[in-house]
């Protein structure tokens, strides 16, 4: 067997740079708790101006006035690694992500298809370059050796066990993928190359460093089996439909879309789950894809509902060019909780649950068109309420001050000569921090026609007209 190791020394950074508008400017990944931020990785431009991985962010700021910072995201790294494993999967059925910073794949069985090795290797390089991931590749008779050697330099290909032994002898302990503590200890003992370890008494090594070290060395030389999990493609729904001809109207898309959604429904039913969000990709010729995301507040799986929602979104979408293909991707697949049904369901077939109605309205009118009101914590009447997407369970209102049920959109002069002051002034002076400072004396007034009005004057004003701000019911 032959194993190729693709080492990905800057996976996190490459993942970020792929989508960054200015990858050529200094950029660093930052990690660590708020008080002790450190640079996790730096791009070449940042390195040129003197930034280094491991530096404190504060120190970096002291050194360089301008650079972009992006949060280091472990999950993102995992995603990119899985993405690359999926890519590698097309070249081999034995792919593993078990080795840190690396994708390792068995290539012996694939050589007939992609080989010989130098060509196969070139293919891998080309793919990875195109994808934008810096990497090194090494080949060895066992995966662990390939992993260690890839760390040494790019392009090593040792097919024979004998040449492998020679190469491993020369590997510095600091680069032998030992745990950091062991590597430091060995260095402090003057044991600097693997060759020295290979000839050292095994019992002495085991006593000092445990069996783990011997195991690592044995597996590296292929003297012991190296069990690890192989990569498996993930659970997600991704369906692409090539259309027989270019479609220009959304109406005509409904048919293929219904089919795709039906397949999704079947898939969901098969795994007994629901979908929270899915994306329709409309593929155009010579034009970037149009993406239409369909999100729901709770997981659903009923195809007719999903179709209704998707249709609503599709009708709103602008389609810039004829559609060549259609792809449906669903990744948020949470468990499905069906709505409670009574044994004798009394609802007529026309009625639908409130939440379903809400979803349909949102789908038809847009997310922003449907909202609820909630109180907000602010002394200024204009700021004392806010919009929310979901009705909020309000706490018992501790509102001591009387507030009108109808607040005018904006205050207007009160045109009523015969008003009588019922209560006030209540002074509101607040909001200096966002530039919306108000200083008003509010009064409850009874107008000549007997209505209760809420109106104010600016603090210190005497003869100015009242500004009407609301009506009491």
């Amino acid at each position: 067997m032959s194993w190729a190791c693709i080492l990905l020394p800057r996976l996190a950074l490459d993942g970020v740079l792929r989508r960054h508008p200015h990858p050529e400017r200094p950029l660093v990944l930052v990690t660590g708790p708020a008080q002790k931020r450190v640079l996790a990785a730096v791009n070449p431009a940042a390195e040129r101006v003197g930034l280094r991985a491991g530096q404190a962010l504060a120190a970096a700021h002291a050194l360089v006035s301008e650079f972009a910072t992006v949060e280091y995201d472990v999950d993102e790294v995992t995603r990119w690694r899985d993405f690359l494993a999926a890519w590698a999967y097309r070249y081999s059925s034995q792919v593993t992500t078990a080795f840190e910073d690396a994708i390792v794949l068995e290539i012996g069985a694939s050589l007939r298809l992609f080989g010989p090795w130098p060509r196969f290797e070139r293919q891998l390089h080309e793919d990875l370059d195109a994808l934008g991931f810096s990497h090194r590749i090494a080949l060895a008779p066992n995966p662990r050796a390939a992993w260690v050697l890839a760390g040494m330099h790019d392009g090593l290909a040792l097919a024979q066990p004998s040449t492998l032994a020679t190469a491993l002898n020369r590997v510095p302990v600091s680069q032998a993928r030992l745990d950091a503590k062991t590597a430091r200890a060995l260095h402090a003992m003057g044991l600097r190359r693997l060759g020295q370890l290979f000839v050292a008494p095994r019992a002495s090594l085991a006593q000092r460093f445990g069996m783990g070290l011997l195991q690592h060395l044995d597996r590296m030389r292929g003297d012991a089996p190296d069990p690890f999990d192989l990569y498996r493609p993930p659970d997600r729904f991704d369906l692409r439909l090539e259309l027989p001809y270019d479609i220009e109207h959304s109406q005509a898309l409904l048919f293929p879309m219904r089919r795709a959604i039906a397949d999704l429904g079947a898939f969901l039913a098969g795994r007994d789950g629901g979908v929270q969000r899915f994306v329709l990709h409309l593929e155009h010729e010579g034009h970037p894809n149009t993406e239409i995301a369909v999100g729901m507040l709770s997981a659903e799986r009923e195809p007719s509902l999903l179709f209704d929602l998707a249709r609503g979104r599709l009708e709103q979408a602008r389609i810039p060019a004829p559609v060549r293909g259609l792809r449906l991707v669903a990744e948020e697949l949470p468990p499905f909780v069906p709505a409670g049904r009574e044994l004798f369901d009394e609802r007529s077939s026309q009625s639908m649950p409130w939440s379903t109605l809400r979803e349909r309205l949102r789908a038809r009118l847009g997310d922003d068109a449907v909202y609820a009101l909630a109180p907000a914590d602010d002394h200024r009447p204009e700021q004392a309420w806010r919009r929310t997407s979901l009705p909020v369970a309000t706490k018992s209102p501790v509102e001591a001050a009387p507030r009108p049920t109808w607040l005018l959109q904006r205050p207007i002069p009160l045109r009523d000569g015969g008003s009588r002051i019922v209560a006030g002034p209540e002074r509101v002076e607040s909001g200096w921090w966002d530039g919306g400072d108000v200083r008003r004396d509010y009064y409850v007034l009874e107008t000549g026609s007997g209505q209760r009005a809420w109106a104010y004057r600016g603090v210190g004003e005497i003869d100015t007209p009242f500004m009407l701000h609301g009506w009491f019911a």
């Binding site: 200890a185 402090a188 006030g424 002076e429």
Partner: protein, 1064 residues
Amino acid sequence: MRNSIGDHSPPPQPSPAARGREHAPDYAELHCLSDFSFGRGASNAAELFERAQRQGYTALAITDECSLAGIVRGLEASRATGLRMIVGSEVTLDADGDSPLKLVLLVETREGYSNLCKLITRGRRRSSKGEYRLTREDLVDGLPGLLALWIPDARMSRQDGAWLKRHFDGRLWLAVELHRGPDDARRLQELEALAASLGIPAVASGDVHMHARSRRALQDTMTAIRHRTTIASAGKRLFPNGERHLRTRRALSAIHPRHLLDETLRIAERCRFSLDTDLGYEYPHELVPDGHTPQSWLRELVERGVRERWPEGESMEARELIEKELALIHRKQYEPYFLTVHDIVRHAKSLDILCQGRGSAANSVVCYTLGVTSIDPARMGLLFERFLSDERNEPPDIDIDFEHERREEIIQYIYERYGRDRAAIAATVIRYRTRSAVRDVGRVLGLPEDQLAQLSRSTSAWSTDTPTSERLREYGFDPDSPLIRRLVMLVGELLGKPRHLSQHVGGFVISEHPLHTLVPVENAAMDERTIIQWDKDDLDTMKLLKVDVLALGMLTCVRKALDLVRRHRGRDYTMATLPPEDPATYRMIQRGEVIGVFQIESRAQMAMLPRLKPECFYDLVIEVAIVRPGPIQGGMIHPYLRRRQGLEPVDYPSDALREVLKRTLGVPLFQEQVMRIAMVAADYSPGDADRLRRDMAAWKRRGGLESHRDKLFAGMRKNGYDEAFAERIFEQIKGFGDYGFPESHAASFALVTYASSWIKCHEPAAFSCALLNSLPMGFYLPPQLVADARRHGIEVRPVDVRYSDWDCTLEAGTEDAGEGGEPPLALRLGMRLINGLQQKVAERISAARASGAFLELDDLVARADLDRGSVDRLAEAGALRGLAGHRHRARWQSAATEKQLPLFAAANAVDARSASEPRIAIPPPSASEDTRADYASIGLTLGAHPVGLIRRALQQRRYRSARELAQWPDKRNARYAGLVILRQRPQTASGVTFMTLEDETGMVNVVVWAQVAERQRRVFLESQLLAVEGRMESAEGSQHLIATRLEDLSSLLGGVATVSRDFR
């Protein structure tokens, strides 16, 4: 955002607008928080009193929440404005089953004051620092002497009112606090009805949180800070408006019926207690044995001291001074204070803890005879001014320094001796500085963490100014954006505001009667520490005496050095009996060989020594005082130096000032001299001079020197002094600011300087050893101290488990004694230098060794019961060299010492500890590897100096050594490279940084000007091994390399981890 001060809206009912202020009814504010209600009050006492006085209030109560920390400031403001202060406190009782209850307690009588102190103490002592907890239970004795204002919450509970009435019958009011709420008219009606139904009077009060409405933004900001939220999301926790300020009487009368305002006057009339009256503070009495009075007992102790200090009889002069001082002490009744200080010092001596007093009263003959100080005023040729004066009503001031490692023993002794009731530490008011203000304001304005960090970088840590536009722009903020403008404005207002109380470094207040009858006591952050709510300025104002129990590292070092001299030389010295005025010691000081010596080892000091050439004790006193920000800013150093060197004639502005200035060649250097000048030249009274001293210390915080300027100039002009002299004196007064150095302190410090110099000169090995065992302290780290010792010919031996203890020790040297001299001692480094090794491990090794030398590594491990981590650290330090060979082999062996786990049974087939373990080829470390390991483990090397190892590479780059530079011609360009061991930027030196660089041949002083540092900021800040191109400048024996270009050569070191001391 700013509002006009004191505006008000028209009353709801039309009223004659012409009604003038003079017709407004009188009013006394009874509920007012100052900024000592942390996070609530937005104005300080001075602002509150000034405004209240301008509004024509009759009296003002300061009622901080469960605290009297602000009342002394209140008292001062009250004196300044002539407006009467009522002492009080707002407390909220914990719900505790019932509902919470909010009260304002006002002091009616002295007894009431005591009861309030007691109540606050009780509430504070049972909670953690900064909090309090009081319940109804605490009020059941009715708190005699206190009046209570009840501030009902929204429930207006009749029950609560009835409960309060039971306990405060005849002393309870219902407070009506109206702040333009939704319906004040109705609220007023309901409150009055409640009061009537309870049969108690109602009274108006203001719940004042700021002096003027314009503080509204700051008050909101403080509220958000207190709730740890942003202002935008603080919502209803902010006050709805700015009404909680000292409103005009006209505004108040528009809201309140007349009788509610009149009631405030009746209450104010009842609260006649004033802090101005004597609180009855007394010093502890118990130090006087039966049959003695304090006077006779102090006399007795002084006479005993006289016999000890002058076995062959005191001089006439000394006797005369003693009698004069004793008489004065008696007139002031300060005997108990001196007896207390004596008792503390006596106790320290019985524990063999070295201590020394300083301060104006410490340098008296009485203190010399009592053993408080070792300065013999007669012997040192010092004639102290009268240390206390009749007219100057200033309490005696004695600070006592103790060995830093053992001060805690003294603190515990004081607590034990007087009890926690009667002894407590003074508070220190921690105030907002730029950085903390920027952080807190930025946070509540909603800036994210990383921008906050960036913002605080734009300010220096200890600055007390608002950040400048240039700095803000430099750090990427737009100073003109509304957010940053708001931030700068609020930071400006928050600066200097108290944040919390902390403990003073060592100021103890001790009292005959329980302290909580005088001032509330609360918990400090440290367990088992209690502080009073007043700081040292407050104590001064209130005339409470304090003893400063301070920690001084050099005393530890001197005591340890004298112990070593006793053990190895058999000579028994104390600080007082070291040979005085030793010429060899002064010669050493003049050469500037003072690394490690107390107070004169800083770069600036060291550079001054060869020019100042101190040759007697008083010269040291001047040296200690002169190289400080005060005299430097006042421009006093160079005139003094020129006169001392005879380059400029010594003259005096007048004959009268000759007396004041003759010891310092006509140049005022000391705080005392400035005060004397003000008295002699500008006709200040002793009281004025004392005020000047205090204002000098506080002007940066509070301002207030301008009035002195006018007064000084006028006085000096009248007495015929020229403008330039007056200007110089005034500049120096400003310079003295925070750093003013009194001669009395300088003299005490100089004595420690002399003692440490003498020991370094005559017993250098003992000095180095003691210094290493007293670290951390001073300017230098172990590598410089060891290098300095070796340069002076002391043999330094490495850390070795066969010989080393935890501390460094002295051993017999290998060289023979020189002609007639004593045999040299060698310095054995201690295990305390080993990075990460625990003291108890080292002690186990010493103990095991006492029963026989170690045979091999296993023997050591078994007998000293060492864990693997410790063995590793010993191996890494090279301390196992005698047992296990070189470092690599020691590490290999130490790795096998772990207690064996059953899991590894297979590996145990071969017993690795036995000699039968197969040998393995382990290469020895190279010289540079050894150096690197030495630095990593013990921070220094006795082997090759890291720079020595790369000397060839430096030569190729044409860099010289320190030895070559020492012979370098003046004003010539030079190239030098060395390890950076010190970066220092004196506050006064306008951007210049002093660096000390070191190589295998010695040290070089480098001066880096601001523009070079800025241009090469990274190299300047980060280099371990720094190359400098520049010009040599030498002046009177001291040499500097003025840098023009820097280069970072650290990579040449190959990973040696050296450390420098930067910007301490």
